[in-house]
Symmetry: C2
Subunit: 416 residues, 2 copies
């Protein structure tokens, strides 16, 4: 039996099991959500007045959010309480508000809105499909640069930003990037905030979605973008985003935006025309729950890591065991976040995802990690091991490995 | 003692009481909020899966909102469950999303975004300051028409919309208008939806904030704008907004947008790029609470009316008693909503608000009911009797009446 035939036989054996496995989206598992169940009853008929005397049932409370919630969540974005603005239930919602306002009216350093300046945003690839969709749907043109182990390819970013005033900013994930798990190095952070830009209002939209989502016990500190920017007076360039979606409940909590106090003043005014302020009941629920959680947000994130780390370990274990010596793929080994990024050596990512589906495993559609859904190398596969129960990760990853072997062997035959 | 001196003496007597009264904003009273206290604990560790099997703790659930919540709230906007989209905690937030998207990408019938078409919106005066602020901050120019007892002055609306393609829509309150309490008549509703407009994508943004906020036991049915529009195939022109802010908690609930199913398809796509969908925990809380409330939303609104109606009655009683025979002011007698609108005969509204403040009563700043904060007649005063306890309405209204008498007498002297 040829290698191809033997791989086909192995594949058919997996297929015959009739499995239904899913590693498509970066969602927490039910056991992660269970950790936060007490939040549902944290606020009741007796405790709806905040420490500072705000009645969460009435309008007043401010466009920035409750002070108690700002004091709690500023740590998540590595800023102070006067450098954070809260939003409703997702960072996406906040990011869309910031991007739309920038298009219509500009950012703090703008003289006008961006909409008539053929605005372009730098994005990193592989990257996050919802960033691409949001920015493109609003009218931004995207320019891709590679994500490297130290963050966005800064040579490329510098070259793009320097001469072209239509390059209005960069939109990326600084910590445990989606999907590579790469984290911005201090050197790259310094180059980023001090970029020589043709646009006076170049803005760093940093979606710090995984800022506290460590898998290791002693995580490397995340780069403090705002502090680094402040050293050279560039702090108004930086806007950080985050949310509680993978802290408490997914799209059932609070969005966060961190920025300089000058930006807080600018964006408060912008927001106060558009909203009455975010839902205070949800903020107060989070404050009461997280204050009482042993170790606070950090303690809760350790409990999440205890559930997630074994899943990521199985991903590495199977990939090493099945593909370690074959030169068919490379993959990342994230210290946090929600994904592992795998690149096939041959241009077979499409075929791998197709085969996996046939064998009962849903993977993120190929191309999702690139603008317009097109991976020019047809090589990137985003693995999302967080949602399935631990016992499903090994069979799922064995299918992934088998499909990579089979698709690569098919490519050899096609190319022969 | 002259009339002026005697009024001054009366005014000084009020002033000497050192009162602190507030009829500035349209907020529910604490007793209104108390009706909804059980909502805080409606969802707990045992009931976080919806009837249709959605786990409110995870992302999936859709950009339109939970089906159970859509089935519940569609009645509030007089639409069906497939004609409603839910938002986060306020209608303002939803309205700002719709207006920004219209500017960047247009509405369903647009060929392009409105931003480069010098877009103008018709608004009604006296009207709602947050409408003016929102639309102007996004870049709309406002064109005012008078609110009449039958709704927006349709002669003026027809004249404006007919020849000018930059008139992109009308933004108003169809039921118990803020601040007049006027409700759109069926005749005016018919003229509105069938407007002959220069713009192909003219849109009726109807903020139906008080659609179920009746003060009387047997309210006149509100105009069914969408149904009337459907008779002539104009249903895609109409977008209705509402919220639970004065049903459960203010800016602590759910925003609502009602529209044709074709518009639902268009706006779902627009929203799905910008949000992950509104907070499901808050929706599910509302469903469980309101389903169990005796009589549902209607029953709860009757309980609200029982608290609010006596306050509105005192407003009318004092105004009739103090000003009924004096020809110094006219005022509305709303059958629902949150305000009474008063117009002084002489241009003294500014002075009345100033005097009232001196006597310890905060009123809505003059001009707030007009774009740019300028009331050309200096006559309109918005009275908001909902928030203070019932016993404060009589002294507050006596101060209002006294200040109107005094300011009018001062004007007579100035004019003499």
């Amino acid at each position: 039996m040829s290698n191809l035939d033997s791989l086909k036989a192995q594949f058919n054996e997996y297929k015959s099991r009739g499995l239904t496995l899913n590693m498509e989206r970066g969602q927490p598992a039910d056991s992660n959500f269970d950790l936060s169940l007490p939040i549902l009853s944290a606020v009741n008929e007796t405790n709806y007045i905040t420490d500072s005397g705000v009645d969460i049932r009435n309008y007043p409370g401010g466009v920035l959010g409750l002070i108690e919630a700002r004091e709690l969540f500023c740590e998540q974005l590595n800023v102070s309480a006067d450098e954070i603005m809260l939003g409703n239930n997702s960072s996406l919602e906040l990011m869309s508000r910031f991007l739309t306002w920038a298009l219509l009216n500009g950012v703090k350093n703008s003289t006008s809105g961006w909409v008539n300046q053929s605005p372009r945003l730098i994005v990193t690839v592989p990257g996050y499909d919802r960033h691409f969709l949001l920015a493109q749907s609003l009218g931004f043109e995207l320019v891709s640069v590679n994500m490297t182990p130290n963050g966005p390819d800064m040579d490329a970013v510098e070259a793009l930003a320097k001469d072209d005033a239509s390059i209005k900013g960069i939109y990326f994930v600084p910590t445990y990037s989606n999907p590579t798990g790469d984290t911005l190095s201090e050197d790259f952070a310094r180059r980023l905030v001090n970029l020589d830009t043709a646009a006076d209002d170049f803005t760093i939209f940093a979606d710090d979605a995984y800022s506290v989502h460590h898998l290791e016990d002693n995580p490397q500190p995340a780069p403090d973008l705002l502090a680094i920017a402040r050293e050279t007076g560039q702090e108004d360039r930086v806007i950080l985003f985050g949310s509680t979606s993978k802290v408490t409940f997914a799209s059932g909590g609070i969005g966060l935006a961190g920025m300089s106090t000058a930006n807080i003043a600018y964006w408060s005014k912008a927001m106060s025309a558009q909203t009455i302020g975010p839902n205070k009941a949800e903020q107060w629920r989070h404050v009461l729950f997280l204050r009482n959680y042993p170790g606070g947000i950090k303690g809760l994130m350790k409990a999440h890591a205890a559930i997630l780390k074994p899943k990521f370990d199985v991903v590495q274990e199977v990939l090493n065991r099945e593909l370690g010596n074959l030169d068919l793929a490379t993959w990342t080994q994230p210290m946090g976040g929600y994904f592992v990024s795998l690149d096939t050596k041959k241009p077979v990512a499409n075929r791998v995802v197709e085969l996996a589906k046939e064998a009962g495993l849903a993977l993120t559609p190929t191309g999702a990690t690139f603008p317009d859904g097109i991976d020019p190398g047809n090589s990137n596969i985003r693995l999302a091991p967080t949602r399935p129960p631990l016992e499903e990760i090994e069979p799922a990853m064995e299918i992934v490995a088998c499909c990579i072997k089979l698709a690569s062997a098919e490519a050899d035959v096609d190319g022969a």
